[in-house]
């Protein structure tokens, strides 16, 4: 064991580079003139993510590597999820970097003189860039963590910046701050649940490492009640992050209140990180106690799919609707966790990549639809978008069809893969519910398309701003990835198949 008691900097490099970039970003806040900060921060963030991705590519062929005194496991799934998070973050930062999304001064009371003067000086909270990088580092650590303490640290590192960022909206600031507070409070509860569960698991196994807990599960001599309680509460902490029913109540409010680029980033990247951790815990640690958790997780998956897709129908706000849709997708992803086979792992990884890009693209488009008072998220006012800006509307429709899982989009291949894995593992009931909820979900995605193309034009001053080059690149690349992953997913699937084994 002594040989692994070293940090293994090369394996940790991707995470540490991102953390380093974040620290530099903080220094820039302190020493660079306010006017130039936005550009410099943007470049630093993009460059950091790029370098981190390169260093990740260098270790992509590792089959097994423990690092940081066994508390981090850089195996195939971890590398893939870190890569996915970095890619998503890269394009999310491009959208975040577009002007006008963030408040001039977060500390100023909304509506006050102080706020007005801050707006007039053209300031902007550029701290959002280092915050994003911190969150990214936490997200990268989350699916790689191999003991409960690291897992908890990663959970907090990724969550705290997100709580802050959710409250930074430039417009409707009270709404945004309320969302941030709600997210923070509920998030804090869920962290507490997680810790509570971790303590019980320690009581069960006298170990905080996933491998140690797994050994106790196989051993079968330890106290099963502790295992059940620990399992339950740790799961609650994680299921909260992915927005599974009944721990989903924060999702619509936070998605709606947060600045749209942050919502996109959060929706896409947090899901990858949280499902990464969820997969590792259930596959690695509790895989041999499957009869203890599969029934309850099955019920949660079914509820999540149904509630997400049914409640989404009643939504009149596009961001709230996508929030419920993300809940439904969390349910689809949970079927991959339930499958508990290699196909399930591979399918979930693929789905996360596909879903991440669709989400970034969709929220990127939402940032573009505005009137003089800011973004328009009321669905009724999207009427006639198809006529005013056919290209943007077509792209958004494509993302919606991908969410709905229509063939020739990445969403379809993902859905097919994940349902196949679940069917193969014998959970046919979940597949049937999944298929039915996809049919329900199709209804509200299509309703948006109807709104954009077929509803009578209203005379509101709805405009689509000409996207800045950065946002343009982000949304069109997301569209292209969605198409390519839908038409020719073979290279990515083959790559995933070589990676999709968890190492204990």
């Amino acid at each position: 064991m002594t040989d692994s008691l070293i940090l293994q900097y090369s394996f940790l490099a991707p995470i540490m580079i991102v953390l380093g970039g974040a620290v530099i970003g903080v220094l820039v806040e302190a020493f660079v003139a306010a006017k130039r900060r936005a550009t410099i921060q943007l470049l630093i963030a993009l460059f950091t993510i790029f370098v981190s991705f390169i260093s990740l590519l260098r270790i992509r062929n590792l089959t097994s590597a423990k690092a940081a005194f066994n508390s981090v496991m850089i195996d195939g799934p971890a590398i893939f999820m870190q890569g996915t998070i970095l890619l998503i973050a890269f394009f999310a930062v491009m959208i975040i970097g577009d002007v006008d999304h963030f408040t001039a001064q977060a500390s100023a009371v909304p509506g006050s003189e102080e706020e007005k003067s801050a707006v007039q000086t053209g300031r902007q909270q550029t701290e959002v860039f280092p915050l994003t990088l911190f969150a990214v580092a936490g997200m990268m650590l989350f699916p790689a963590a191999s003991d409960l303490i690291t897992l908890f640290v990663a959970l907090e590192v990724l969550s705290l910046p997100l709580y802050l960022m959710a409250g930074l909206s430039r417009r409707r600031r009270l709404f945004s701050q309320e969302a941030a507070l709600k997210y923070f409070l509920l998030g804090a509860y869920s962290s507490a649940f997680f810790l509570f569960g971790a303590a019980f698991l320690y009581g069960f196994s006298y170990s905080v490492t996933l491998a140690g807990i797994h050994a106790a599960v196989i051993g079968g001599t330890a106290n099963n009640v502790f295992l059940l309680i620990g399992l339950l509460f740790v799961s609650i902490g994680l299921l909260f992050k992915v927005g599974a029913v009944p721990f989903h109540a924060w999702t619509p409010d936070v998605y709606q209140g947060a600045p749209t680029p942050i919502t996109g980033f959060m929706a896409a990247a947090t899901k990858v990180a949280a499902f990464g951790a969820l997969l590792r815990i259930f596959y690695v640690t509790f895989g041999d106690a499957v009869w203890n958790w599969r029934p309850i997780l099955t019920v949660i998956a079914i509820l999540t799919m149904l509630v997400g897709s049914i409640v989404a129908i009643t939504q009149r706000d596009i961001k709230r609707m996508l929030a419920y849709s993300s809940i439904a997708h969390a349910g689809f992803l949970l079927t991959g966790v339930i499958a508990l086979n290699r196909a399930g792992l591979a399918a979930t990884l693929y789905y996360l990549l596909a879903y991440g890009f669709i989400t970034i693209g969709a929220f990127g488009v939402i940032t573009l639809v505005r009137d003089s008072s800011g973004e328009i998220t009321d669905l009724n006012r999207w009427a006639g978008l198809g006529r005013r800006s056919p290209k943007i509307a077509a792209l958004f429709s494509f993302f919606l069809l991908a969410f709905a899982g229509i063939p020739l989009t990445s969403g379809f291949i993902g859905k097919f893969a994940i349902f196949t894995a679940a069917y193969e593992s014998g959970n046919i009931g979940v597949v049937v519910v999944g298929v039915l909820s996809s049919a329900i979900a199709a209804f509200f995605y299509i309703r948006v398309i109807v709104m954009m193309y077929f509803a009578e034009d209203n005379k509101d001053s709805l405009t689509v701003v000409i996207p800045s080059p950065l946002t343009s690149i982000a949304i069109w690349v997301s569209g292209a990835v969605t198409l390519v992953l839908g038409v020719y997913p073979t290279p990515v699937l083959n790559f995933i198949n070589t990676l999709a084994i968890f190492i204990r």
Partner: protein, 502 residues
Amino acid sequence: MKYLTSLMLLPLLGAILISTLPKNKSNYAKWVALLTSIVVALLGLLIALRFEIDRPGFQFVENYSWIPSFGINYSLGIDGIALVLILMSVILVPIVIVAGWHESEGGRWGSKSFYVLILILETMMIGVFAATDVFLFYVFFEAMLIPVYFLIGGYGVGERAAAAVKFLLYSLFGGLLMLAAIIGIYVISGNQGGHTFDIEKLSQLTIDSTTQNFLFLGFFIAFAIKAPLWPLHTWLPDAAKSATPGTSVLLLGVLDKVGTFGMIRYCIKLFPESSKTFTPVIIALALISILYGAFLAIGQKDIKGLIAFTSISHFGFITMGIFAMTTQGHSGATLYMVNHGFSTAALFLVAGWISARRGSSTIADFGGLQRVTPVLAWTFFIAGLSSLALPGLSSFVSEFLVLVGTYTRYPVAAVIGTLGIVLAALYILIPVQKALHGPITPGNENLPDITRRERIAIAPVIAVIIFLGFYPKPLLDVINPASIATLTAAGFSDPVPAAGGK
């Protein structure tokens, strides 16, 4: 030469070409679309000529690995049934384009998008009939809905958006049920010697009867929505009333055939035992469709609604022919699919022209057209006669074959089905007598008769209807071996006729 892939690529290239046309040149869009579709039709005819009737199995086979980790292949191939349906599709597309030369102008968007959608649809229509990989079939089956959705919602009339959504949701629901069944059979194939989507390999699996029944239903419900069978038909009349005539032709003439084609290719081929189990129910539903569609057609005030309900009746005949599980039934049903495509095309196109002239699609408004616009009225009459299966016109042969094929196994059903023919006479002749031959409705006095463009469009359709009415042999020669092969593989044999056999 990769015939089938070329056949699919050509319309797609045409669509790309049209979408790159500059704005001020968008007049060329319809010409590009027309030329493309004519080239496609010619290539389709070439394929038909090179098709070897006596060779069993799929021809023009192409096979490439597509997504190997799921055992998915891009594999194409056609048998006689697929060939005639592809042929019908590629012939109908240029006709639809010529017939609806100005159709794209009443839309929400320009004519460019209209023709791009039509050509993309053509690619997918060919693909759905040519695919021999179940996954590939499903991709076309679902993706096809999107262009149709925009064609109805964007260029239709009346409650077009609602009709488009209804159509899409119905179809998606069916499609997703089918997806679950496809996943099911795929997983079973994985347990029996390797994951595959190859239709031939899948048809050799042994599946226990309960599972087979569920999987069969997954496929069948999807197809019964597509080729609307009572009680899953309610989307069709709405869609047909709202769509442009050209779109309706493609929708009822080609797309809905995917349903009946799927019943032969997938339901019976993959799940022969379940097909047998469910036959009584399906025959009953088919009979209800025949009579229900016919009765409602009689009561229709709207000409497009009338044609939609007659189609429901016709699809009942086709489904009955398929599930009679006799070679005459199958051949008749396949021929019926082709004939119904052309006779519906004729009805819809002429009805569309008349409605456009009159500015209304209510039958009562067409009074006296026989005198004002004799050629149009006669064309409608011939199309109507074909639809009611008058001997000498194409539908007669197929309807006769279906009834004979059904009688040898289910005499009662065949007898009841015959009532459908009587009702057909009513629903066609009553409107013709009351409206076309009736007194001239005020406002109809100066309606112009058929134009040259319209003549060019309708002439080939009428020619095909009459030709196939007198000489269906070329088609039947192609269809028969495929029908026999399907039934033999599924383990059905024709019952020996009871009378005269002694």
